[in-house]
Amino acid sequence: MTTSILAKRSRPMVRVAPLRTICLVLGLLMAALIVLPIVGTIVRTFAESEGLSAFTRAAELDDLGTTLLNTAIVVVVAVSAATLIGTVLAWLSERTTARMGWVSEITPVMPLLVPPVALAVGFVFLFSPRAGVVNVAIRSFTRSEATTGPFNIFSWYGLLSLYVIELIPVVYLVVSAALRSVDPALEQASRTAGAGLFRTFVSVTLPSIRPAVVSSMFMSLTIALTLFSAPAIVGATAGIDVLSVRIVRLLTATYPPETDVAVVLGLLTLICIGAAWTVQLRILAAQRFAVVGGKGQRASLIDLGPWTVPAKGLVLTFLSFATVLPALGLILVSVQRFWSPRIEIATLGFDAYRRVFASGSITREAITNSVALGAAGATIALMIATLCALALRERATGVFRAIDGLLKLPAGMSNIVIAVGILVTFAGSPFNLSGTVAILLLAYVIIYMPQASIAANSAGSLVGRQLTEASSIAGAAPSRTMRRVLLPLMVPSLASGWTLLFVYMAGDLTASVLLASTNTPTVGYVLYEQFTSGSYPTIAALAVVLTSVSSLVAFSVLVLSRRARTT
């Protein structure tokens, strides 16, 4: 009669043993893959370069001081500007009458659809001093006699604008989420106490979302230190070198590659990020933050009155600069025979696309590779992250918290440093993965694991604990509960997480530029490699194809998952 099973008192250990085992194995594997290359590379650098010679040679690099100064200027200016603009945009869209229905819903995602490398190329086509589409339009509109200007993308302000546009979505995403969870009564109490709009924003709204603002600042700082597309494509011509470009150049533009010097520069990046991280922790620890309610109720929107229209204009301006304009620039150049200031309707055509898709061409291979890598990488990363999220949900013990933190570790490091670590560790013997698709896949999965982990965790946390408990009570075994209740409810969030990962991976440049080759090209790699030598319409067409694929996948997945969700 007594059907009791012998079990330890901490029951979940027994109930989900397979899941926990899988998670442990995967977690240890990921730990090894994330930590070992970097640690190994650093150790090797010290060991093989006889003491500190790598450091000496790094210090003797030409113009290292200028590079560091440039990097500092770019990071400080771009991060401050992006934090300010991103926070204001988020507040306008979330809290005020500048909110524009579905436009505000998709605002944070839109810029992601134009991958950084495509954005940079698009901006070159728009604002190149001589033939930039916008410049030409302005000159002909003002009947100017000049042959260049008025704008020049190959300049400090051009480079900084690109950085800012890349960073704003990061801030926007984090801050708007925080704003949604702040109890609107906090603001209303301030308004009824007699404080005006601005005062309320500064003394109530901002303090209550300060943790989000600070952490989004930290995130954008990490990204700014690592960003490669804008400085590689715009900064090089403008003569502005930053750290990330120097690292890549040491590895790809010199022979033999000066790996150890590159590692030293990478270490420098890590130290900067570490310092910023410490500052962030200190800021967050020193503050007492307002109680944030989790009601998620739609706040009554703050009426901006006559400022509503300009505010909406600001949001739309950002959207058009981050997505619409560069996409238009790319399309316009892609249908021309060659990139020229004058657009002759008669000569427009799709030759460039034909060349892109020509059989045996490197562009075609790049597209195939990027799409396949994006799909495979997103699936693998999300599966690992989901398994670990499920294990963490079942039992949040130290081991699983540690694994969870580990999965997010790459976000706190430079993508380039990770890619260098993977290159050094896996390219040569015994793995010999150099020039294979496998090394790219490995790099993508590791670099974008934090995003996968965040998506999986939030997907899991959206499913209330009682929903799974109700299934257990009904008599369902844990595996059945997972299959029938937990996973189906996680699907919509997992789908959007997958989309995000696909878009990141298919449009990746940072890892590709180090790990791809002419044998295993990716779209990012080809765009970067051919930008200085290739035909502009072909480059534009390739960027358009990349953007279209990303957008198409994103929208179809979102539509499908929305249809699947029945409530």
Partner: protein, 391 residues
């Protein structure tokens, strides 16, 4: 089993209790390292068809106890047996997971699965227990009709009202016809009127199906209305256990008395008069209706419910004291009158239609005997915070 009619009623003594727990203890460690004893040495035994309500304020351990019975949490010590077989024993390292305990449960949040229709939600417990599809359909139909939700079977939880969600959650909890159904504050999310309707329905359903119900609530009126047995919990321990009327009329402690509704606590001393226990207070001496457990001469509180008192000479069977009216609150069926008689505050539910005014001097009629006497715990809750002129 539904057609078998009433199998419920009082617990029978021959069979094993449906639920038996002994020495249950569950300790949490808070983030700051402090230990919180959610339940602290609890022994319970529930019979077949018994409706047990676990009552107490938030943090008293009632939900923890319920979740331990369900298998959603594991106690640190003690043993639980269901239907005579052990499902948990800390010493023997026995801990059956929830899916093996054959109990229904209704959650505070209802926990209806949003990706399944009402029908699929209710059918789920039958499906996982591998019932035949014809049987599943018949039983789902039957139980949905029983809770008045047959018409919405095809709809999703997101498309139905809160009251309907509640009924569906109830249907899902009872559809497998387990002899034990657990309720975790299932009525706390609906408005007062609907709550009373659902309470009645639940009571009828429980009698009809005859399962043992363990029901967690912080609402004493809900507990009084539903329970065969009320268990009042205080800081993880059982403060009192018994039928609702006993707990209401003869609270074992000031804590229980206060939790069961507004009370007048009149401090006094246990005395003996003509061989009977009695309580001597500033308002006079009251004979106890039953022997009191406290020692002679000890400090006690005489507990008087506001409805036991009246203003004026109406029905002047007891004794009367002079008092001054401090506040009046019209409540519809009665007027809540707060008076002071000397130093003593008294709350009265006056059901007469007499005209009263604040500041008026009145005679208050007290009952002649002391029905509820509890040990004095030293707390003196006051209703009049601004009593300078009354002092």
């Amino acid at each position: 089993m539904l057609r078998d009619g009433d199998v419920g009623g009082r617990p029978s003594s021959e069979t094993a209790p449906i639920v038996a727990g002994r020495g249950l203890r569950r300790t949490y460690r808070r983030r700051d390292g402090e230990e919180v004893r959610a339940i602290d040495g609890i022994d319970v035994e529930f019979g077949a068809g018994e409706f047990v309500v676990l009552l107490g304020p938030s943090g008293c351990g009632k939900t923890t106890l319920l979740r331990c019975l369900a298998g959603l949490e594991s106690p640190d010590a003690g043993a639980i047996s269901l239907r005579g077989s052990t499902v948990f024993d800390a010493e023997a390292s026995v801990d059956l997971p929830p899916e093996k305990r054959r109990a229904g449960m209704m959650f505070q949040s209802y926990a209806l699965w949003p990706h399944m229709t009402v029908q699929d939600n209710v059918a789920y417990p039958l499906k996982v227990r591998r019932a035949g599809s014809a049987e599943i359909r018949a039983r789902v139909d039957e139980v949905l009709r029983l809770v008045g939700c047959a018409a919405i079977a095809e709809q999703y939880p997101g498309e139905i009202s809160g009251g309907q969600q509640q009924r569906v959650a109830l249907a899902r909890a009872v559809v497998a016809r387990d002899d034990l159904v657990l309720f975790d504050e299932p009525l706390s999310n609906v408005d007062a009127q609907l709550r009373e309707t659902l309470r009645t329905e639940l009571s009828i359903l429980q009698r009809a199906l005859g399962f043992t119900a363990v029901y967690v609530t912080h609402d004493q009126s809900e507990a009084l209305a539903l329970a065969d047995t009320v268990i009042v919990l205080n800081q993880g321990r059982i403060a009192q256990i018994g039928p609702p009327a006993d707990i209401y009329r003869h609270p074992a402690s000031a804590y229980v008395a206060r939790f069961m509704g507004p009370v007048n606590e009149i401090p006094g001393r246990l005395t003996r008069r003509e061989g009977k226990d009695s309580v001597t207070t500033s308002l006079g001496t009251f004979d106890a209706t039953r022997p009191l457990p406290s020692d002679l001469g000890s400090d006690v509180l005489l507990v008087l419910r506001p409805s036991e008192l009246s203003v004026g000479t109406v029905g002047a069977a007891g004794r009367q004291v002079e008092a001054t009216i401090r506040s009046l609150q019209f409540q519809g069926d009665y007027v809540e009158v707060l008076v002071t008689a000397g130093q003593q505050e008294l709350l009265i539910r006056d059901r007469s239609d007499q005209i009263l005014q604040v500041g008026q001097s009145v005679l208050v009629t007290l009952p002649g005997v002391a029905r509820a006497v509890v040990p004095d715990d030293g707390l003196r809750p006051t209703r009049l915070p601004f009593t300078d002129e009354a002092a």
